[in-house]
């Protein structure tokens, strides 16, 4: 152990340890979120949700995961093999990279990069590409239509997402997530930038392909979208990435607008997780409240409402900062 650390250097060793921690957290988070999703869905529909396996059905996701692992991994004959195999792995890269820069607590961060938010946004564009690979590689028309829809949607919503984050960056003069959290010691940015927060939240729901913007995987028309042809462990990877993405967008919202790890009495990590999971709950709540939008409506919301509003907000912020 000592030898390894001395060989690769202390900093690198710390980063690797952080990455392992992130992996554990990703799996744990996905387990909790699948359980929470079913529980929330149940209670919203006046059911109880899972309750048989463990207390309150808490061990249900582990049972599900075991079932998924035990399933036969099917590979349809007509798939484009390299793309088909690579896509589930590639969709995981942006997820892991994003966790590197998110500050969970004042000192609990794998690496504070001074272009932190750009790292997250840049690598999240990779997930678009892997969705495209999955859709193309599956050689299935549902998968392809789902992938194309997903990409159109992601492109349309990435712009308001960026534009909603920019005012905060202008106010703090920094891309580093930690600096942004530190700048919110007094008042959270959501009070300065309520509009930006709303725009970011809507866009992030669309970015994660959740209802009401879940057209890429609309099960009533497209079977399951781009992961129609995936089974067993590969499907589980897509699933894991999806749930982790929900957490990541919530975590960014918390970091940018809701004061990050800052709060009274409790330690920072508790505050951070509390706020993040509250936003995750809101995203789940949306799923069982709103019907799915039509595709033209989806694109119109972004291009005709969110982007102009975000631009106006950006201009106003720039003007007010200079006054």
């Amino acid at each position: 152990m000592e030898q390894i650390v001395s060989m690769i250097g202390w900093k690198t060793a710390k980063t690797i340890a952080g990455l392992v921690g992130v992996l554990i957290f990703v799996v744990f988070n996905a387990l909790i979120l699948t359980w929470a999703e079913r529980k929330v869905a149940g209670h919203m529909q006046r059911r109880i949700g899972p309750k048989e396996v463990g207390p309150y059905g808490l061990i249900q996701p582990i049972a599900d995961a075991l079932k998924l692992l035990g399933k036969e991994i099917l590979t349809p004959r007509a798939v484009d093999r390299p793309l088909y195999f690579l896509a589930p792995i590639l969709i995981f890269v942006p997820v892991l990279v994003s966790f590197i820069v998110i500050p969970f607590d004042a000192s609990l961060q794998v690496k504070d990069i001074n272009v932190g938010i750009l790292v997250i946004l840049a690598f999240s564009s990779l997930s678009v590409l892997s969705i495209l690979m999955a859709g193309w590689g599956s050689n299935n028309k549902y998968a392809l239509i789902g992938a194309i829809r997903s990409v159109a949607q992601n492109i349309a919503y990435e712009i308001p997402l960026l534009l909603a984050l920019l005012p905060v960056i202008m106010m703090t003069n920094s891309f580093s997530l930690k600096a942004i959290v530190e700048a919110q010691k007094g008042l959270w940015f959501v009070f300065y930038q309520p509009l930006a927060f709303c725009i970011y939240f809507i866009a992030s729901v669309a970015e994660t392909n959740r209802t009401p913007f879940d057209l890429p995987e609309a099960e009533s028309e497209l079977v399951a979208g781009y992961h129609t042809e995936y089974s067993g462990m590969r499907f589980a990877l897509f699933f894991l990435a999806e749930y982790t993405n929900i957490f990541i967008v919530s975590a960014i919202a918390v970091t940018f607008f809701l004061g990050g790890y800052q709060g009274p009495f409790l330690p920072g990590i508790i505050w951070f997780l509390l706020k993040s999971y509250l936003l995750v709950f809101v995203i789940m709540w949306l799923r069982w409240t709103f019907p799915r939008v039509r595709f033209d409506q989806l694109l119109n919301i972004s291009w005709k409402a969110l982007i102009p509003l975000a631009f106006i907000n950006l201009l106003l912020t720039g003007g007010l900062l200079k006054l």
């Binding site: 390299p82 990409v151 492109i155």
Partner: protein, 167 residues
């Protein structure tokens, strides 16, 4: 050879492999994947050259925007399109060889030539400095570029609308 150099060599290999895949592979989708790999490699090189901001911009613009656009065009054109006989004639091969030699010669000449070193060694290529330069010395080109983008977007929309109205 330390850890950083090994990764640097890996990045070089990945970049070259991606570029070769982009030009040699028969399927457009694989060519696109190669292009994306090469772009990632170049972004990695930017990090080694002390410009992490530009590296992120590279990924954001090339991987996030340009290659996705190309992928869209491939989806609109490729799947319906009968694969052409792509491969090359002797004349083209000769031309390619010529281009390769001339370019390589020029670059070797450039690299072995004397190269003035200047400026302060503790120079920091921060995002702030880049921003300052944009709004200080280079305001006019910056505004012109944004005008160019607007014109291009309008042009693309016009093309799309025109083709729809034609049907």
């Amino acid at each position: 050879m330390n850890f950083g150099e090994i990764i640097f060599l890996l990045i070089i290999i990945v970049t070259m492999g991606g570029a070769l895949m982009a030009i040699l592979s028969g399927s457009i989708v694989y060519a696109l994947m190669g292009l994306v790999t090469a772009m990632f490699g170049v972004a990695g090189l930017y990090i080694y050259l002390d410009s992490p901001f530009l590296a992120m911009m590279q990924i954001l613009i090339y991987v996030g925007a340009v290659s996705v656009l190309i992928a869209f065009a491939v989806m609109l054109i490729g799947p319906l399109y009968r694969r052409p006989k792509e491969w090359t004639t002797a004349g083209k091969f000769g031309a390619a060889l010529g281009v390769a030699l001339v370019t390589l010669f020029m670059f070797v000449r450039f690299v072995t030539g004397t190269f003035p070193r200047g400026g302060n060694p503790f120079f920091d290529m921060t995002t702030k400095e880049i921003g300052r330069l944009f709004f200080d010395n280079l305001v006019l080109p910056f505004e012109l570029i944004s005008l160019l983008i607007v014109v291009a977007i309008l042009g693309a929309i016009m093309l799309a609308l025109f083709s729809r109205g034609n049907k």
